[in-house]
Symmetry: C2
Subunit: 468 residues, 2 copies
């Protein structure tokens, strides 16, 4: 008895802890992004508003059971973002009208062919339209814009074409249904747009800006992680290591970018964005960013792969130029990020790109100079002939040791520099993509005074390496 009681208590405790864990997860999700809770409230409000129609006598008497179409519309059409909602509403509207009218035309035609032929003709038409529409849906452009509409088209056409043989007063039914659906749509759109709206376009905009920032962070973190400062506390090293993983968000955000870009086109002007904002071009920035992120991912792998021994001399020699290049590259990305975020043309981005290119040159020259500064270069024939007479074996040893080192030990370092250079090339692609967005979206230049002071600051910052 005591054993059974114990097991029961144990079971109760287990259930309680599981429920608590679940509740906590649920709570944290809401606390992290309260807009999700607000979305839930919005759906509830829209449904409650529509449900009022059931209880208001005059409306209810007029539409009767058709009021259910209003509820159905709200549930089916309400989406998280305004773009998603409008995409469904517009698709549904066009599809219902075209499907309904085509079905009425089919009815009229079938009715003229006599009562025997009517069902055959109608069934054949339903078959043909369903086949064509379903196949049509596979076209990528159609799928991106009208996927939902095509479902509704087939639905409406079949329902009207087939139900016609039962309901005599089709026109009346249509008018009633359209008005109830209209009530549902109006409620949904109003609640969606006017109560804490979530705009697909804005989400995309900030996602792109945030991802640019993250890519910059990742690049800095990676190089900091590779060249730790000796006095670094563990915390800083850990932070650098954590930051170096930020690129993963960029790799994973393709599908969000694509879906937001395709929904954003349905949205009206909002905030800073006009109707017809170049959302598709944002996807191009995403593509350029991912092109860059692939390289950062590889760099991450190469840097963290087991390297035999680090050639200290090379590392010392290259540390500063590598860190400068990575910091310059990430400066460009951060500038792009803030330019996108504020929708202002950055006056300094070209200077920063120039500086980045300078750093690439500097790194290239460092690499060529490197060998000259190496011990075995100091033992050139002129000198070595002198030394050679004294202790040639010593030089021989050092010579071979140094010469053998570069390719096996320094491979990771050479690869890192090569990848940093490749990344800077790819960043130029991102700069171009953002410039196209700025052009198409008419980004405003920063106010004259502000811009002049920023340019001057930029010029002061920029010290071409050959003048240093």
């Amino acid at each position: 008895m005591a054993g059974a009681w114990g097991r029961l208590v144990e079971f109760g405790v287990e259930v309680r802890s599981k429920v608590l864990a679940f509740a906590e997860k649920f709570w944290r999700m809401g606390a992290d992004d309260p807009r999700k809770v607000i979305h839930g409230v919005k759906v509830g409000v829209a449904l409650s508003l529509v449900s009022l129609f059931y209880y208001i006598r005059p409306i209810n008497d007029k539409f009767g059971r058709n009021t259910m179409w209003a509820v159905m519309t709200v549930v089916v059409v309400f989406e998280y973002t305004v773009g998603g909602c409008l995409y469904k509403v517009i698709n549904r509207g066009i599809a219902t009208l075209s499907g309904g009218s085509l079905a009425l035309a089919a009815h009229w035609m079938a009715a003229k062919s006599g009562p025997k032929a009517e069902p055959v003709i109608l069934s054949a038409l339903v078959f043909l339209f369903a086949l064509a529409a379903t196949f049509f849906r596979f076209m990528p452009t159609v799928k991106a814009r009208f996927d939902y509409g095509i479902t509704i088209f087939i639905l409406t056409f079949s329902l009207v074409a087939l139900s016609g043989s039962h309901v005599d007063d089709l026109t009346n039914l249509t008018v009633e249904r359209i008005s109830t659906v209209g009530i549902g749509i109006a409620t949904t759109v109003c609640v969606c747009i006017f109560v804490c709206p979530v705009w697909s376009g804005q989400e995309l905009h900030f996602l792109i800006s945030r991802n640019l920032e993250k890519l910059a962070e990742s690049l800095e973190g990676l190089v900091e992680d590779y060249f730790p400062i000796n006095g670094d506390s563990m915390d800083r090293a850990e932070i650098a290591s954590k930051r170096s993983h930020s690129y993963k968000c960029v790799l994973d955000s393709k599908s969000s970018e694509d879906s937001w870009a395709s929904l954003a086109r349905w949205e009206p002007a909002h905030g800073w964005f006009k109707f017809g904002h170049p959302w598709q071009q944002y996807s191009m920035v995403g593509v350029a960013m991912r092109h860059c992120a692939y390289c950062v991912e590889t760099l991450h792998g190469c840097v963290n792969s087991e390297t035999i021994k680090r050639p200290e001399f090379w590392e010392k020699h290259l540390r500063d130029v590598c860190m400068k290049l990575s910091s310059d590259s990430s400066k460009v990305l951060k500038e792009l990020s803030s330019s996108v975020k504020t929708m202002k043309k950055s006056p300094s981005v070209n200077l920063l790109v120039l500086e980045m290119k300078n750093s690439v040159e500097e790194l290239r020259i460092s690499l060529s100079l490197l060998t000259e500064q190496l011990p075995f270069i100091q033992t050139r024939p002129a000198k070595s002939s002198e030394l050679g007479n004294e202790n040639s074996s010593f030089i021989d040893d050092r010579d071979v040791a140094v010469v053998l080192m570069p390719l096996t030990e320094a491979m990771a370092l050479v690869t890192m520099t090569a990848l940093l250079i490749e990344i800077s090339t790819r960043i130029e692609g991102v700069v171009e993509a953002v410039a196209t967005v700025a052009e198409l979206a008419c980004f405003k230049p920063i106010g004259n005074d502000e811009s002049r002071s920023k340019v001057q600051a930029g010029e002061q910052e920029l010290k071409p390496f050959h003048q240093v």
Copy 2:
């Protein structure tokens, strides 16, 4: 008059060419993948079958207008793959039953509280359930499995809870509706499964196998592209360049993989696959493959970036080992691909991996040996002291020229070797992921005789470099 006629003819020709181009595109889409046409036909057939119910007197008399629910179900539930269809059917079923019964319970409770409180209680409940369900949907695990079900749950709950105040005989309505929906579901599932079915699982399976093959192709093509054989015809070079782009499919197939993996879990046993086949593990193979493809993409960029001059000596020295490594790596990938494709445990994959590792070692050793064979190593202090007296300036020139070359000119080559090594490391990750799939899915070993001969062939092929 003649001008207007000319313009009209021109317009007609233009329209004709556009229509023809569109029709051709349409036709090609169907010809490329006839299953898309078949899917269209299947939807048409299912709808026509259901529409028969409208014309069969006894059924029609029994269910009346509710027959429209059968049509609606077919249109909404019919999906391209069996998995998609079953996902919707099962979600819809569970959601309708749970939503409906909860709504009936709510009704019963509300009816007990008196006619004044009834609408208030019902509206409040609709609000609360809609809020909770909508929020619940944001949980990633719920979204992946029950997204559609939650829509239907809210829909059913609201409709039944609100319509209750109008329809007295709720139970009767429910029974009728469930039977018509059942007819729709039965028709859809039968047509979907028994007429040329498209299985999500099978699609995923072959996608993974195809992508492994493509990655292998890409790797071979890239290295062939970098080290063209002198007597190569333009055609071969073009083919290599084309093949080197195959990795793009791997990068772009994340969303297909994820959606197929999540739909495949709803599918019953089919072909070689049991119910509960480890579809999620296929996604892991996809992840490992993409991890590899990022590196291949970077390699592609590095190889094709403008390099100053190619250090001929190095290239000659490294060509064979690089090509051997890339060919060994792609052999591993091809073996994995055929192992996945045929669902047979490959007896030779471990040998191939060993061979690949050997090639990596070979490449590493070649790199260290490289410097010894270079001209400036031949001018070691011992010798240079002799030569130094004769013409030290000549040696000095050559010395510096050779030393400067490696890092600036050979950077691309060194990077390529480093990336090839990194790729081979990542391929080991793919091997592990496929091994887990083979373990979980109980891949059959190849028949004893067959396997023995293959192992022998593999052993003959495998010549560790230190024995060569």
